[in-house]
């Protein structure tokens, strides 16, 4: 019967066509954490214009889960994504352990892009012996978010606030007990720990120096701890944990005067944390001339991936082109690491949320001043131990120097055995 033969033939042709289309496409898995997924999604259109045969599957996991899972996957050699994003806190771990492709090799030749990427960021993704394990995606210049309206209420202007002492002064005025229950209801910061973090993250070294010697307990740390303790003792600290509902409320209601963080927090604030407070905020540089790095991520290709070429195309696209860098910036406040993008008029824009301030320009300027930072594979472990020491100081009234000494000892114990 001719009819049925024709039908089955056309079905066959159709199937072959679909098969060919599917066959021609490569699918890559991109593993990331929030809010990178919004950024990636926003640049997909442009990416697919350039590479129509690469399909991108974005897998997003919570910040800690993403990194923990990545570690396990690399260790197990199974289920690795083709592109993995890594935040700076974790990069030391991955750089040291291996399991990622060296992007300086052919066919990636990442070295050609070096001159256009923010310098301090470039160094971080590279090992001591010159292998580049992960490509810089974004930077996070440290900044101080403040409620300008509250400052003005007390008679300060943002130009006044350049030193830590000035902030303490303003904080003392601001922190009050409004409902008479013996406790302050307005504070300088939600959590004194952030101030300590601010001091600790400054400078060129974090927890270890080039030789792996533990630096915990030197000036930076002592200053940071003492500052946090002082703030707490003066009642300027709200004792509110980050990312809790009380924390969101503090921003919404303006019960805190300032919050040090990275540029990326601005996006969160604007988009969902406190959108109704638009216009009342300003983003300042950190006091005392501190320029620090507060976050920022990289992208790498796990060794076990079998789609390395396609993966590199994605990374290259996302990290070394102005358009996607800006698209990500727009969507999720992921600050470009690709310097040519700084020329874009977007940086001259005034932000309504920040009361007309040219925040992007401000951050770009700040980024230029951030020094190169020495990372180490034990960074995360050291961070955990130091944070625990800090809580001990703040909650249990422990002496800062003593707590730091012990933290240093603990870190050295653990790391000495594994160097």
């Amino acid at each position: 019967m001719k009819k049925s033969k024709r039908v089955s033939l056309s079905i066959l042709v159709l199937m072959v066509m679909i098969g060919a289309m599917a066959f021609g496409k490569t699918t890559i898995d991109v593993a990331c954490f929030p809010d990178q997924d919004s950024g990636f999604k926003s640049m997909l259109e442009g990416f697919n214009e350039k590479y129509p045969d690469i399909e991108v599957k974005i897998k997003v996991n919570g910040f800690a889960e993403h990194h923990d899972a990545l570690l396990t996957q690399i260790a197990a050699g199974a289920n690795v994504p083709d592109v993995a994003t890594i935040e700076i806190g974790y990069i030391g771990n991955f750089v040291a352990k291996g399991g990622f492709v060296n992007l300086m090799d052919a066919p990636y030749n990442a070295g050609q892009y070096k001159k256009n990427i923010v310098p301090y960021k470039w160094a971080q993704g590279t090992t001591k012996d010159g292998r580049m394990v992960a490509m810089p995606l974004d930077i996070a210049p440290g900044t101080l978010y403040t409620r300008e309206d509250r400052l003005n209420e007390m008679g300060y202007t943002i130009e006044d606030m350049v030193t830590v002492d000035k902030w303490l002064e303003a904080g003392l005025k601001f922190s009050q007990d409004l409902d008479g229950d013996g406790k302050n209801d307005r504070w300088l910061v939600p959590n004194a720990q952030d101030l300590a973090t601010m001091m600790i993250k400054s400078g060129e070294e974090r927890y270890f120096d080039k030789e792996g010697k533990c630096l915990v307990g030197n000036e930076r740390f002592i200053e940071g701890f003492k500052l946090a303790k002082k703030v707490k003792d003066l009642g300027l600290d709200g004792g509110i944990g980050a990312w809790t509902n009380e924390w969101y409320e503090a921003f919404k209601n303006g019960t805190i005067l300032m919050q040090p963080s990275g540029a990326w927090l601005g996006g969160h604030l604007k988009n969902w944390m406190a959108p109704d407070t638009a216009g009342k905020w300003k983003a300042l540089n950190l006091p005392n001339g501190l320029y620090i790095n507060w976050g920022g991520a990289f992208m790498g290709i796990p060794e076990r991936s079998d789609k390395k070429e396609a993966a590199w195309k994605f990374i290259e696209y996302a990290a070394t082109n102005i358009r996607p860098q800006l698209e990500q910036f727009e969507a999720s406040n992921i600050f470009p690491a690709w310097m040519p993008s700084f020329e874009d008029p977007m940086f001259e824009e005034e932000s309504a949320f920040f009361g007309g301030q040219k925040v992007r320009k401000q951050w770009a300027e700040a980024a230029k001043n951030v020094p190169v930072i020495q990372t180490d594979k034990f960074d995360k472990m050291a961070e955990t131990i130091v944070n625990s020491a800090l809580t001990d100081v703040l909650e249990n009234d422990r002496d800062p120097e003593e707590a730091l000494e012990e933290a240093k000892r603990l870190i050295e114990r653990r790391t000495r055995r594994r160097r």
Partner: protein, 305 residues
């Protein structure tokens, strides 16, 4: 079609799955763990023999002792109330003059069957500092004249930062664990009470004994073996709790490690910091604690003649 097993070989064949599985998934890992405990391994690079160094490290690690201390404190905070409440309530139910026995038994058992993770999520909200139900109730109680004074006396500072203040984290965990497991013990005790012949009670009543005397002089001694069993299970279980503190502290172990239990610390060491050797050593040290406690328990419940 049937497998023509002989009557002699059948039982061995039938019980073999257990022994095979145990050999592979029970015995071998334990032996391997013992071997690992003398090595340094992160799962990727080569293994390095270090002898007893891991053990020395664990035993001199302040955080290990903190974790053990935390586990012990939580253990005491929850096991004692668990069994006291369970026994008391079981006895009340047993006395028989209560209606809705079925309802009570089922209700009390409900927490045991639900996932610790799900429960912890709800408790996180209950423990909220400003918006949690528990603090709300405490605040309401504070307004009641007598109780308010009591709070003052105890220097109780409301609202309590259950999960943010180091000194409250352990009670918070203990409370949740108590809520979860009391029902299990209750059912156990209730069943055991059923097994006591009523004739004993009749005889005692005839002799003029009061209910309280009956309880202490007859019931408790007869329940001895069940209590021993239940407490042993509690020791093995409560010293290893993981899900509850993990969820309540968000995986962090709480402020200043106040909620870091031994199991969590082992998890962190072995899996987060990828120190398989150290973790194995820690497991063995921890288990020796459990053994010691079980033996103490046995001694406590030994037959006194």
């Amino acid at each position: 079609m049937d497998l023509r097993l002989s009557r002699e070989s059948a039982p061995y064949v039938f019980i073999s799955p257990f022994y095979i599985m145990f050999a592979i998934f029970g015995a071998f890992p334990i032996i391997f763990s013992f071997y690992l405990s003398f090595n340094m391994w992160d799962g990727i690079t080569e293994m390095k023999w270090v002898g007893v160094e891991n053990y020395i490290f664990v035993v001199t690690d302040p955080w290990f002792w903190k974790a053990i201390g935390n586990s012990l404190i939580i253990f005491l905070m929850t096991t004692i109330p668990q069994h006291l409440i369970a026994l008391t309530l079981a006895y009340m139910l047993y006395l028989g003059t209560i209606k809705f026995k079925e309802f009570f038994r089922s209700a009390f058992f409900l927490p045991y069957i639900t996932s610790a993770v799900a429960i912890a999520l709800v408790f996180q909200l209950l423990y909220g500092q400003h918006f949690g139900m528990i603090n709300a109730m405490l605040k309401w109680l504070q307004a009641v004249p007598g109780i308010g004074g009591l709070f003052e006396l105890m220097h109780l500072d409301l609202p309590i930062r259950w999960l943010g203040d180091p000194k409250w984290v352990k009670p918070a965990i203990a409370l949740m664990v108590t809520w979860k497991f009391t029902g299990w013990n209750l059912i156990l005790y209730y069943a055991a009470l059923q097994n006591i012949p009523t004739t004993l009670y009749e005889a005692a009543k005839v002799d003029g004994a009061s209910p309280i005397q009956i309880f202490f002089k007859i019931t408790i001694p007869l329940l001895r073996s069940v209590i021993f069993f239940a407490v042993t299970m509690s020791i093995i279980g409560n010293l290893q709790i993981f899900a509850e503190p993990y969820m309540l502290t968000g995986g962090t172990g709480g402020p200043a490690n106040s909620g870091l239990t031994a199991a969590m610390y082992l998890y962190n060491t072995g899996f987060k910091w990828a120190e398989f050797g150290t973790g194995s050593a820690m497991a063995y040290v921890l288990c020796s604690f459990i053994v010691v406690f079980s033996m103490l328990n046995k001694y406590f419940f030994r037959d006194k003649g």
